[in-house]
């Protein structure tokens, strides 16, 4: 126990005296501070631009006013008077952008769009047909679909009018006073999506980074030949467990600093974020979720760190670490992709996800995503956690055996078949 404490203290010292660790942690906190203070910083810099809401139009003359001509305006060409003045007003309001009713012919308008005089143009060919002329069709350009909806509305209006329906009744038919309520018995994925995503990223990064640190730290001890001195001064289990627990705690502390500073800066800037649903959904993460993140981080981290530690003990030099941990990394990246895909598609309970949430290599992320995004039964969570815990303990002992044998083997890393031999030998030695 005393040895374990010495190893733990020395390894922790390694992290807290390492400039990279300190600088990275501070840097992340500063980035979070800037991001979360951004609305306030923007106000301070006075660059806040009020989005110009087009005023509601009541008369067609307003569409021809000089004030609306220029850069951000969409030109409106009413060929052969296809739409009535009243319909044009309706259309312009439904479009929700500044429009300018021009008398130019289509070709002239097309040129004007091309050289940037107008942001675009809508050509009404007849009562049912309109063309949207865009300078470039950007990814987020929704003008065409907005135009479709507007044209549909205008046409319906015209039809109802021609059937002799009164103005008021037409309004009511087009905008019937219907209301729909939602009663959610499960999880609202719009609320859970963002924090699930962020927590998954955090789990992934933390396990990956700190797991690899364990591998390269063991390999460094081996490569620098410090190992023989260590292994003859302390028990291998103290060395491995002390190292892994120190890495886990350093990771946890770093995560705590990051999340702590995120929460702090969010609350400092709370007023500026009022009304931002996404940010609010992230910071309204329920407290039990923090518990689950912790649980799955710890279990997942130890599972992978033990494997990384064992692999680190088998290679001779730090340079060989990255190649040797590849298979484990692939496993982990696979788990991450499966889970992120499922979370993005909103289907956290697909068969693949259910299977993954029980397999210990994938369950830290998969089960966490299911807990966050859907409602697995309590026994499902318990089974997954117990399986994960049992595997982690098992892998822990196995890794300690491999580590004990591996630390003094130099030369090329053993093949899987040789590895089995090593483990067998280690077992016999321990017995």
């Amino acid at each position: 126990m005393k040895q374990f404490q010495s190893v733990f203290r020395f390894e922790m010292g390694g992290y807290f005296k390492s400039k990279i660790y300190l600088v990275m942690t501070a840097l992340f906190a500063v980035v979070l501070m800037i991001v979360l203070s951004f609305p306030n910083i923007k106000t301070l810099l006075g660059s806040e631009e009020e989005a110009v809401q087009p005023t509601t139009i009541t008369q067609v003359d307003q569409l021809m006013a000089d004030t609306v001509s220029g850069g951000d305006v969409i030109a409106l060409v009413n060929q052969n008077g296809a739409l009535s003045d009243e319909a044009l007003v309706l259309l312009a309001n439904a479009m929700g952008t500044s429009m300018y009713l021009t008398q130019e012919d289509v070709q002239a308008v097309r040129d004007a769009v091309k050289n940037g005089t107008y942001a675009g143009a809508v050509v009404i060919e007849d009562a049912q047909t309109a063309t949207y002329i865009a300078p470039t069709l950007t990814l987020d350009d929704e003008t065409a679909s907005v135009l479709y909806t507007a044209m549909t509305g205008v046409t319906r209006y015209e039809m109802l009018q021609s059937l002799g329906v009164s103005q008021a009744e037409t309004e009511e038919i087009l905008n019937p006073p219907v209301s729909v309520n939602v009663e959610n018995l499960g999880v609202s994925q719009t609320d859970t999506f963002f924090y699930t995503y962020i927590m998954l990223m955090a789990l992934y990064m933390a396990i990956m980074i700190y797991g690899q640190l364990v591998a390269s730290s063991v390999a460094t001890e081996k490569g620098s030949r410090t190992m023989e001195l260590l292994i003859t001064s302390a028990r291998p289990n103290s060395l491995l467990f002390g190292k892994i627990i120190a890495a886990g705690l350093s990771g946890l502390i770093q995560m705590a600093v990051l999340f702590g500073s995120a929460v702090l800066f969010y609350h400092i800037n709370a007023s500026a974020w009022a009304g931002n649903a996404v940010i609010a959904s992230i910071f309204n993460m329920p407290l039990p979720m923090v518990g689950y993140v912790l649980l799955f981080f710890l279990l997942g981290f130890f599972l992978y760190a033990f494997m990384f530690g064992a692999v680190g003990s088998l290679v001779s030099r730090v340079e060989d670490v990255s190649a040797s941990i590849m298979p484990i990394m692939m496993c982990f990246v696979f788990a991450f992709i499966v889970v992120i895909t499922a979370v993005s598609s909103g289907n956290a309970d697909s068969t693949l996800m259910i299977v993954c949430s029980y397999i210990p290599l994938t369950s830290p992320m998969a089960m966490f995503a299911r807990v966050a995004m859907s409602m697995p039964a309590w026994y499902e969570i318990v089974i997954s956690v117990v399986l994960l815990l049992a595997t982690t303990v098992g892998i822990g002992f196995l890794s300690a055996s491999i580590y004990r044998m591996g630390v003094l083997m130099y030369g090329k890393a053993p093949k899987p078949a040789e590895l089995v031999k090593v483990i067998r030998a280690a077992r016999q030695n321990n017995a």
Binding site: S224, L229, T232, A234
Partner: protein
């Protein structure tokens, strides 16, 4: 305290490394474990240090199975190194605490040994700023931290300049005088000869010679003499002796004389004087440790 190694056996795969290694060493004594490269010295030491288990045989201290944790041990491994990027003092304290010292005691001890090694300027430096020889001195300091009862030094002299080698010799001799057991592995015979009365020569996993150097030298034929002659008279002397029907050989400008009986020595020498060949001195031939080593390790190869 008596350290006994009995019948150690060890194979790596099909390769048999140790095949019955035995030796004994007591407090206040040093044992030179000698052997060629790959003879099994480091393997023997690693088994004593419980880095891995032997396939057979045992290691005893005072008749009881040796458990590393029960004794203060200083170990300078052959494959040695320290964390390149950590401060030297931190590492020494760490190694001290791993061996059961309190941090305060480990620090005091580390500083004392760093001072002794003349490395006080490097206390708060990183290891990779040190030269190889200085790194080695740090390793030695690490081995001495816990005032070991058993000091195991595996090739301690490689990489040390003569001044540092002298320092190491003084330290090792002190350890012996203080009643520690020193187990010393090397193939640098001159150092071994200087402070090991007792040697064990390992060859192909077996102890081929386990004795005190003095006693072993006495086992050589006392009738084999080496003559000290003035320069340029060696050939003449050899011819004279051969003419008397004696076996005399000229080896590298030295005359080796084999007398039929030790009682014949003086008459033969006075005969030489009478014949006008000046004899400045003579001694019984004793092989150097290097000669013994070569004799016992070159046979089976």
């Amino acid at each position: 305290m008596v350290l006994e190694v009995q019948q150690l056996q060890k194979s790596f795969g099909d390769h048999e490394v140790l095949n019955g290694v035995n030796f004994t060493v007591e407090s206040g004594n040093s044992l030179g474990l000698l052997g060629r490269n790959g003879a099994g010295k480091t393997t023997t030491i690693r088994i004593i240090m419980d880095v891995f288990a032997a396939d057979g045989g045992r290691v005893l201290v005072d008749g009881k199975p040796f458990r590393r944790g029960d004794y203060r041990i200083g170990y300078l491994p052959e494959e040695r190194g320290l964390y390149p990027k950590r401060l030297i003092l931190d590492q020494l304290i760490y190694l001290g605490t791993l061996r059961g010292l309190t941090p305060a005691f480990a620090k005091a001890s580390a500083l004392r040994w760093m001072g002794r090694m003349g490395l006080m300027d490097y206390v708060n430096k990183k290891v990779d700023t040190l030269s190889k020889g200085n790194q080695q001195k740090i390793q030695l300091a690490a081995a001495m931290l816990n005032d070991p009862e058993l000091l195991i030094l595996d090739e301690p002299f490689t990489g040390l300049d003569p001044v540092n080698a002298q320092l190491l010799k003084v330290i090792v001799r002190e350890c012996i005088d203080e009643g520690k057991i020193v187990l010393f592995s090397s193939h640098q015979m001159n150092y071994v000869e200087e402070f090991c009365r007792h040697i064990a020569i390992l060859n192909h996993g077996e102890i081929v010679l386990d004795t005190t150097i003095e006693a072993h030298k006495r086992t050589y034929d006392r009738r084999h003499l080496v003559l000290d002659l003035p320069d340029g008279t060696q050939a003449q002397a050899q011819q004279y002796l051969a003419g008397k029907g004696l076996r005399a050989e000229l080896q590298e400008q030295t005359v080796h004389l084999y007398v039929p009986d030790t009682a014949d020595t003086l008459p033969i020498l006075s005969g030489m004087s009478g014949a006008g060949i000046a004899v400045e001195g003579y001694r019984v031939f004793e092989p150097s440790l290097e000669d013994i080593f070569v004799e016992y390790t070159s046979k089976a190869i």
